[in-house]
């Protein structure tokens, strides 16, 4: 009885993929919290990367929806395989995300040399006239 209750909590069958999706959404939300409430620029950037990781992992997860097996089946075979498209496209997103991260870190370093602080409020207070 407990199992059926768990399975149909709110009409949604609870399986591994669904749980993993919830988990990844919460990763995005944790990153979001960091981006919004951390005052340190480096922490903000790390939080942004956490968000990005969550979004990317969602894609990786979505390629599993039939099976985890890689697509190497022979022609006409009916063995379920994982979806190659999300995996293929997300590689590009990972690279782009990484390059943005690298660029940001370099220039934040540059900024800290001028200001000797990474606190966003203190930096922005500099140009309030």
């Amino acid at each position: 009885m407990f199992k059926t209750l768990l399975n149909y909590l709110g009409g949604v069958p609870l399986d591994v993929v669904f749980l993993a999706r919830l988990l990844l959404l919460s990763v995005i939300l944790i990153g979001l919290w960091g981006v919004l409430f951390k005052k340190n620029l480096i922490m903000k950037i790390i939080a942004m990367d956490i968000m990005n990781t969550g979004a990317i992992s969602l894609f990786v997860l979505s390629s599993w929806y039939r099976s985890k097996a890689p697509v190497i089946a022979e022609k006409g075979s009916s063995i379920p395989a994982s979806d190659p498209v999300p995996q293929a496209v997300i590689l590009t997103a990972i690279v782009v995300g990484f390059s943005v991260l690298a660029l940001l870190v370099v220039y934040v370093m540059d900024l800290s040399r001028y200001f000797h602080t990474l606190d966003t409020d203190r930096i922005q207070n500099r140009w309030k006239r």
């Binding site: 995005i28 979001l32 981006v35 919004l36 620029l41 903000k44 950037i45 942004m48 968000m51 990005n52 979004a55 990317i56 969602l58 894609f59 979505s62 929806y65 498209v85 999300p86 293929a88 496209v89 590009t92 997103a93 782009v96 995300g97 390059s99 943005v100 660029l103 940001l104 220039y107 934040v108 540059d110 900024l111 001028y114 966003t120 409020d121 930096i123 922005q124 140009w127």
Partner: protein
């Protein structure tokens, strides 16, 4: 046709960019044929007027769409780059700028012609990196801060966009824009919010005044002319194809038009005024999705011209400019640009504005007329600047000025929308705007709160808008 177009629009600029990077080219002159090729190709295709849907690389490949809307954006891209290049043609530019210009041109073209969500994501992320490098080109410390702020806000927006792509893909199994009507509402909201960050639309785009106001003028011209449109063009397609976005986008556009114009009216800094007016003009472009591209080309032209002219002023503060006056060679382009953006007939802004306003009715029409009035009021500040002694009228005539003027006039003549009623209406709006400026706003100093434009607030507002969309429109 498709292969030729892709080579000219995307591959050739990239190739030139890489070559220039290798030889450390600093003269933008060599890139001029490239912009001309883009513009000529786009003009020919616009005259032919057919639309081609192509998929590169077989199934799940890169989907492209060549239709009048995308060609109009490509034409705008070419023309703005010609104008900017002509104005800096004699200068020795900073080291990275020429390769960046070539790559920006190619990527912007790629955004305008792509027809699948993921391809647009990659191109816009790349545009974000290029814009980041552009904003900090002057190497001033404030520019570095604005560029970092821009990249953080833009990247968070693009992560939301990516999540939207994911929901779209898991619902339909494809990234093509053709599947947009079938994807869930929450995915559309995420896509819209991601694109509106790049497009400088209300609340999500509040990074714009800081970045556009602080960058070098030639860079601001490119930012307002081209980069903002890289967010707006996909947003227009989204609004055309998806019924959910068709309800959301006009509302955002209205808010954007009103907000931008209110801040533009009271700003004391000429470059900030232009930046705020970009937010409001983004609203004008998005309010009627089917005709947005026609407005975008006019806006790209006159806004980049205004930024280039404002860059030649001795000071940015209106108070000082009022005291000292400006020389005629700077005054003339500023005057024509300001008249064009207010919607004066035969100057480019008129045909576009009457086309947009003629398609609206009811409350949105009233609000947009108010926004047009606000534009006239805020640009009266530029129009009524006093002339200083010692200017030289002959210097006012330059290649870039002549180019911008001719393309704006041509733009209005081709649009042809010269109903007497519209001309009278526009002249009335402009006249009323000037009267209000002379009677009220030029005498009062009103400080509007600007604390919303801090980094944390912009990021927070992004999610406020997202939540509002979900609450108001439901899933």
């Amino acid at each position: 046709m498709v292969n030729l177009s892709v080579s000219i629009l995307v591959l050739l600029p990239f190739f030139c960019g890489v070559i220039l990077l290798a030889v450390k080219g600093r003269s933008s002159r060599v890139l001029l044929p490239l912009w001309v090729a883009t513009s000529v190709l786009a003009a020919i295709m616009l005259i032919k007027g057919d639309s081609v849907h192509a998929v590169l690389g077989g199934s799940y490949g890169v989907e492209l769409m060549f239709d009048p809307s995308s060609w109009t954006f490509v034409l705008m891209n070419g023309l703005v780059f010609i104008g900017v290049t002509l104005s800096v043609i004699k200068e020795r530019l900073p080291l990275l700028s020429c390769p960046l210009m070539a790559m920006l041109h190619g990527t912007a073209n790629a955004v305008f012609i792509s027809y699948d969500l993921f391809n647009i994501f990659i191109c816009i992320e790349f545009i974000g990196i290029l814009a980041f490098l552009f904003i900090r080109l002057g190497n001033r410390i404030r520019q570095i801060w604005s560029s970092i702020q821009y990249l953080i806000v833009g990247n968070v927006g693009m992560i939301l966009y990516l999540t939207g792509c994911f929901y779209g893909y898991s619902a339909t199994g494809s990234f093509s824009m053709e599947t947009l009507p079938a994807i869930p509402a929450i995915a559309i909201y995420l896509l819209v919010i991601g694109l509106s960050v790049k497009g400088g639309v209300f609340l999500a785009g509040l990074w714009l005044p800081e970045a556009h106001g602080e960058a070098e003028s030639a860079v601001s011209a490119l930012l307002s002319g081209v980069i903002v449109n890289c967010g707006i063009a996909p947003l227009l397609r989204l609004a055309e194809l998806s019924p959910v976005a068709a309800r959301v986008v006009p509302l955002l556009a209205l808010a954007s038009a009103i907000y931008g114009v209110i801040y533009a009216m009271f700003d004391k800094d000429i470059k900030k005024l232009l930046a705020y007016s970009t937010i409001s003009q983004a609203g004008f472009i998005l309010i009627v999705p089917a005709a947005g591209h026609l407005y975008a080309i006019s806006h790209g032209l006159f806004k980049s011209w205004l930024f280039l002219a404002a860059g030649k002023l001795p000071s940015r503060s209106f108070e000082q400019l009022k005291k000292e006056g400006i020389k005629v060679q700077v005054w003339l382009p500023l005057l024509i640009g300001a008249l064009a953006i207010s919607g004066m007939p035969v100057l480019g802004g008129f045909g576009a504005k009457s086309m947009i306003l003629g398609k609206l009715s009811g409350l949105p029409a009233i609000l947009m007329y108010m926004a047009a009035l606000g534009t006239a009021i805020s640009f009266a500040k530029i129009i009524f600047l006093p002339l200083a002694e010692g200017g030289d009228l002959a210097k006012a005539v330059s290649f870039s000025g002549a180019f911008y003027f001719l393309s704006l006039v041509l733009r209005d003549v081709i649009a042809g929308y010269f109903g007497v009623a519209f001309i009278l209406k526009t002249l009335f709006i402009i006249g009323a705007g000037w009267l209000i400026y002379l009677a009220i706003t030029s005498r009062r100093k009103i400080e509007l709160p600007k604390s919303v434009e801090g980094l944390d607030h912009i990021l927070g507002l992004l999610f406020v808008v997202l939540l509002l969309m979900i609450v108001v429109f439901g899933s």
